[in-house]
């Protein structure tokens, strides 16, 4: 049961990460278009966030238990707060950036960093902690890493397909961003609960 809940949360976070990228493209397009330039900035921002999040998560997982727990709560709070900022303040921020910055490159960089980098970094830092969760329960580290990132990537694929072919054609982007916020808050809460379970549970 614990394993099922754990993998469900891992898949859910994978869905959120890559689905968020497609929603991000829809947020940006009224202001910057949907050119290859926009996609390059968007994809690079997400990859930078995955990278930073993984390193940050690795660092958190090496902390003492008490500090590790505090680190998780901070990461979850940052993820939820920054997703809320993107969901409710994203359009207004983009309007300000567009009016205030004449350079497309500078505007896109600022938009991507302010709206996407922080939440995706915060979500990504749970990956190494999920690996540690499995490793402390007897799964060899290499296998634990393969399982977490394999399952998470399946979630990424599901997130892209679900968002592109089901959600965007039928729902408003603002509605979807609110759903993302709610699911992220619930998913992170569940994951923090799971990560606190003793290793013999």
């Amino acid at each position: 049961m614990v394993n099922f809940a754990f993998y469900l949360v891992v898949v859910t976070l994978g869905v959120l990460s890559m689905g968020f990228q497609l929603l991000g493209s829809r947020l940006l397009s009224p202001h910057f278009g949907s050119s290859i330039i926009v996609w390059s900035w968007l994809i690079s921002t997400f990859l930078a966030a995955f990278s930073s999040g993984s390193m940050l998560g690795g660092w958190i997982s090496n902390l003492s238990e008490e500090r590790r727990g505090r680190g998780r709560w901070i990461a979850a709070a940052v993820a939820v707060a920054s997703l809320a900022f993107t969901a409710f303040g994203g359009r207004a921020t983009l309007n300000q950036i567009e009016l205030g910055m004449s350079s497309e490159g500078v505007g896109l960089f600022t938009a991507c960093v302010s709206l996407f980098f922080v939440p995706v970094t915060a979500l990504s830092c749970f990956g190494p902690q999920c690996v540690q969760f499995l490793a402390t329960r007897g799964t060899p580290p290499g296998k634990a890493s393969g399982l977490v990132y394999g399952v998470s990537t399946l979630g990424n694929i599901a997130g892209v397909m679900l968002t592109a072919f089901v959600l965007i054609p039928n729902f408003r982007v603002s509605t979807l961003l609110s759903v993302w916020l709610g699911v992220a808050a619930a998913g992170l809460l569940a994951l923090i609960g799971l990560l606190r379970l003793p290793s013999n549970s």
């Binding site: 278009g33 567009e98 729902f171 982007v173 603002s174």
Partner: protein, 302 residues
Amino acid sequence: MKILLTFCVLASAAVAAEAGNYIERYDTIYNSLTIERTGTVVEMRARAHGGEALESAVDLSDPLKLVVPYTRSLFGALFLQPKPERVLMIGLGGAGFHRLFTAAYPTALLQTVELDPKVHELCQSHLGFKPTAQTPVAVLDGRLFVKRDKGRWDWLILDAFRGGFVPPHLKTVEFYRECAARLNDRGVFVSNLHATSELYYSDLKTIREVFPQVVIFETAGRGNVIACAVKYRTPVITDAAKWPTAESLARAPFAGRLDLNTVRDEHWALPEQAIARGKILSDDFAPVEFLDAMKTNNTKNK
């Protein structure tokens, strides 16, 4: 001997003409383009799903000629605003519309916005377009240009395609409001639509959400519909009987190239029932690609 000489001259002319033909392909950052010259006609096509979409064409022996049929329908805007002095066109293509327009209205400003720098380059190098002070071209996203622009326009023409479809951010109610704000009080918003998918009805519904009066011209047999919309309620523009006559609008360069009576005959009633089932597209909800993929039965109402 004379016959043989004539044959040789004609044969060598044919070989020379054929030798001038070419097909060149370019992958730009936004498009996959084909430029094909056959005789004196140069076509610009964009690779799209299932083939190539004809973006533009110019006859180099008569650059004023409207080779692609829908470009004549763009002149339908004359019936609603007969004195275009400032025209903004989003989408350059091969500038198939530009030559005749500037010949007919030499003092008018025709500002063009084109996203793809390679299209701008090919238009000049292969399709013989030379921008002037009266026909400047800005290489920029059309929506960004409209947002930053402070001018007012008599006609604002949206004719921007990428591989046969219009980018979603140029299809929304917010963008049309931005366009309406840049029009003169009696200005006309002109949009080239494709009547072959469910997107068409959502397009019309969205345009009408911003512009209270809309008329359409359907280019016969081509699937193109030119929507002309204005931001005022009176005078009424939907009654074609009250439009200026084609003869009163004719200009010398139109002779043999543009028959405004033909354009007038392309005026159709709006497909009200189908529009009712369309969706209003917004920055928040614009499933343009999916609506465009749903082919429709385009029933006409004259």
